[in-house]
């Protein structure tokens, strides 16, 4: 039962990174400046999906609280600055996208666009650091609490955070290639292809730093899975580049999406059966089974939530289907 919920937690968090990932990616690309119409068009491409993307994060944390309460408290409080930073980023993006078009002065709008850029970068950085913190272990003491927050300040956490920013940027550019009108999509496609080498370099750097870090080597329980992660990331990025070159943006988006979902799945697998590996006291490492809520709670959640899962996925799919295809200049825009 706890494995099912652990998989669901991973599914929701990975879906959040994939879906909100292109929100943040598009947000980051606003940093290029460019004509106001172009920035407006990029946000219009997000349009109908924007609200439905962020809910995956809220649901993931809901599952974390309901099904893994011990993990929820220790992970969030133990990674306080990273989580709070990501949260500020999420809020800035949510508010910025909604507010940027309220004033009619283009200079004010450009300022709001910078808020969106900063928010997107913070969100990607923050979640990257949280994933890195899982991979490099946390100083969980015998009393069950994670001591301090200075354990986050490592080169590995920094480079993984930056890698997440790069992956999100590639993903956002690929999304625009799929969604924008044909002319603008060609420009976005070139940007995406130019960003792929940047992301590849970031993945390579993170791999090297990770291999050199004794904390990461000690924390990873399955080295094979740990090595598989960067290999698959590189493969996904190369596949995305190839698909972009062949003008298949749909496949490219699937590949860049995989590059954001894979880290969640493989971090979970690499640490199994643990979820928090303690660097301070091996006996204080937290297994998935210990982190899970007790059986009656999981049973209840199973009865209430699992039958609804098809409805949740179905309505999201309905949203993608209704608003599929490229945007065109006619429809009223919102953001």
């Amino acid at each position: 039962m706890d494995l099912t919920w652990y998989a669901l937690l991973g599914l929701f968090f990975a879906s959040y990174l994939v879906l909100a990932g292109y929100d943040y990616g598009v947000g980051l690309l606003l940093a290029r400046g460019g004509a106001p119409a172009g920035r407006r068009a990029a946000l219009t491409a997000l349009g109908p999906f924007f609200l439905g993307n962020e809910v995956w994060l809220v649901a993931a944390v809901g599952i974390l609280f309901g099904a893994f309460p011990v993990l929820e408290g220790e992970l969030l409080a133990g990674c306080y600055p990273a989580v709070a930073g990501a949260l500020v980023g999420v809020i800035l993006v949510t508010a910025g996208v909604q507010l940027r078009s309220r004033p009619s002065d283009e200079r004010v709008r450009a300022r709001w666009d910078r808020v969106i850029v900063v928010g997107s970068a913070l969100a990607a950085l923050g979640w990257g650091v949280v994933l890195a913190a899982l991979l490099q272990g946390v100083p969980r003491q015998a009393d069950g609490h994670v001591a301090g927050v200075s354990h986050l300040a490592t080169p590995f956490a920094a480079i993984v955070g930056l890698t997440m920013v790069a992956l999100v940027a590639v993903h956002g550019a690929t999304f625009l290639t799929l969604r924008l009108p044909v002319d603008a999509a060609a420009v976005a496609g070139r940007t995406a292809r130019r960003l792929v080498p940047v992301a590849l370099c970031a993945v390579a750097a993170a791999t090297v730093v990770g291999l050199l870090s004794s904390r990461v080597r000690d924390a990873v329980q399955r080295p094979a899975v740990g090595v598989l992660l960067p290999v698959l990331l590189v493969a996904a990025l190369l596949a995305a580049r190839a698909a972009l070159a062949r003008r298949r943006p749909g496949w490219a988006l699937i590949a860049t999406g995989a590059a954001l979902a894979l880290p969640v799945a493989l971090v979970g697998a690499a640490l199994w059966p643990y979820v928090l590996v303690s660097t301070a006291d091996p006996g204080a490492s937290l297994t998935v089974a210990d982190a899970a809520a007790s059986a009656p709670t999981l049973r209840l959640l199973g009865w209430v939530a699992l039958p609804l899962l098809p409805a949740l996925l179905g309505f999201q799919a309905m949203c993608w289907w209704v608003f599929r295809g490229r945007t065109e200049g006619r429809a009223p825009v919102y953001w």
């Binding site: 109908p48 939530a305 949740l312 949203c319 009223p332």
Partner: protein, 417 residues
């Protein structure tokens, strides 16, 4: 300043700001459902315009409200990790159900509703708004289930110092739940009705165009507010019985039950101050005063006859000036409920000081200042935007604006500008 105080201040700030958004959302969505249903049933374009105008205000409030809600959710793990550690098995379940069953769908539906005008069939589009409203109420229900459990923990047993769920039904029949849920939902309706009446009153005072439109929404708003204030009062006073019996220390005073309970806690948890701060009862008194004042809405209803309310004009001013009152009242109400639970996180089960996360005071202080500034800015922005868009009138509410006809230039401005 210690971590505990900072964490409590942050919870109070975040919750209060979040709730200001929540009541508007709950109230307006209910009224929107009525208006759009009337439009689909009658085909009268007046209802479409009303839906678009009030829908705009609703959407602004909703999207900014999400941001405050996300902070609420994360705050439990960030600042109150003891809560998830000791009682997470029970308290976490309704919150998890809320996110999955209610909020997830609510936002997905709303995204489709905003962008679905002229794209979906009328019936499907209306169904989406019903979906938004029903999930909004479901959301409120599950949050109240979780909160009521903190007020009066039930359906659990403690093993090895950790609470385990034994009877989920007990959470749903919690004596501190039923009347409180009714009270909160009616408060949302009251706020929605008052807001609608006040914005309409402003337009009628200024004699802006669209007299007929704002006359209608004034009437809807006032009748809603009148019915809602009566329900608020009813559910409110009905709470004193059940809440007083399960939380004898809540409303101050020195009853024998409270003394017995404090004596029991002193033997189990050691000596300490087990009475809640006076602040909660003072707030409660003011809230009740405001509640009685707002009851005077009933006196305005006869003036709806032959539009006397509009012809006399001064009742419109009263409606306009009264609009802050329900907001003050809902905050005071929550202060009474939450501060009245002190010094417990889960009443009689988990003391507040054991639930706070073991993070350093500097981190907590930075978090308090950062998030308070951020959320405060959002709240102010929300009200400025609502006022601006409300003042702009219903001439061409851009939400649901039809797409440009072929050959005409596309709309240069965003739908909500």
């Amino acid at each position: 300043m210690d971590t505990l105080l900072l964490a409590r201040l942050q919870f109070a700030t975040t919750t209060s700001i979040h709730f200001l958004f929540v009541v508007v959302t709950l109230g307006l969505v209910t009224l929107l459902v009525g208006m759009q249903t009337a439009w689909v049933l009658t085909g009268n374009p007046k209802w479409e315009r009303l839906t678009r105008f009030w829908g705009q205000l609703y959407v602004i409030n909703y999207v900014l409200g999400i941001a405050t809600g996300i902070v609420m959710e994360f705050q439990f793990g960030l600042n109150w990790s003891g809560l998830s550690r000791y009682v997470g098995n029970v308290f976490g379940a309704p919150l998890a159900i809320e996110t999955l069953v209610a909020f997830f769908l609510e936002s997905t539906f709303l995204g489709m509703w905003i962008f679905g005008w002229h794209r979906l069939r009328k019936g499907a589009h209306l169904a989406l708004l019903w979906g938004v409203a029903l999930t909004a109420y479901a959301s409120a229900f599950w949050i109240m289930v979780a909160n009521s459990w903190l007020q009066h923990p039930v359906g659990y047993e403690v093993r090895d110092g950790i609470a385990h769920l034994t009877d989920f039904g007990a959470l749903l029949t919690n004596p501190s739940l039923g009347m409180a849920f009714g009270h909160v939902v009616s408060a949302g309706l009251l706020v929605g009705g008052m807001l609608m009446a006040a914005v309409s009153a402003w337009h009628l005072i200024r004699r802006t165009p669209d007299f007929a439109l704002f006359r209608t929404s004034l009437r809807i708003g006032l009748v809603t507010a009148a019915l809602a204030i009566t329900m608020v009062q009813g559910f409110g006073f009905a709470q004193f019985g059940p809440v007083g019996s399960v939380q004898p220390t809540k409303f101050g005073g020195d009853s024998p039950e409270a003394r017995a309970l404090i004596a029991e806690w002193t033997t189990r948890f050691g000596p300490g101050d087990y009475t809640p701060p006076v602040l909660s009862s003072v707030g409660l008194g003011f809230m009740i005063l405001i509640g009685f004042t707002l009851g005077c809405v009933w006196l305005l209803l006869p003036l709806l006859f032959r539009d006397w309310i509009i012809r006399l004009r001064f009742p419109l001013w009263l409606v306009l000036l009264a609009v802050p009152l329900p907001f003050v009242a809902v905050i005071l109400g929550w202060i009474a409920r939450e501060v009245g639970r002190q010094p417990w996180v889960a009443y009689g089960l988990l003391p507040t000081d054991q639930a706070v996360s073991p993070v350093g005071a500097p981190v907590m202080l930075a978090s308090l200042i950062g998030f308070s500034l951020l959320l405060g800015t959002l709240a102010v922005t929300n009200w400025v935007l609502l006022a601006r868009h409300a003042g702009r009138g219903a001439a061409d509410p851009a939400l649901g604006r039809p797409p440009a006809a072929p050959g005409e230039p596309a709309h240069p401005e965003p739908a909500l500008a």
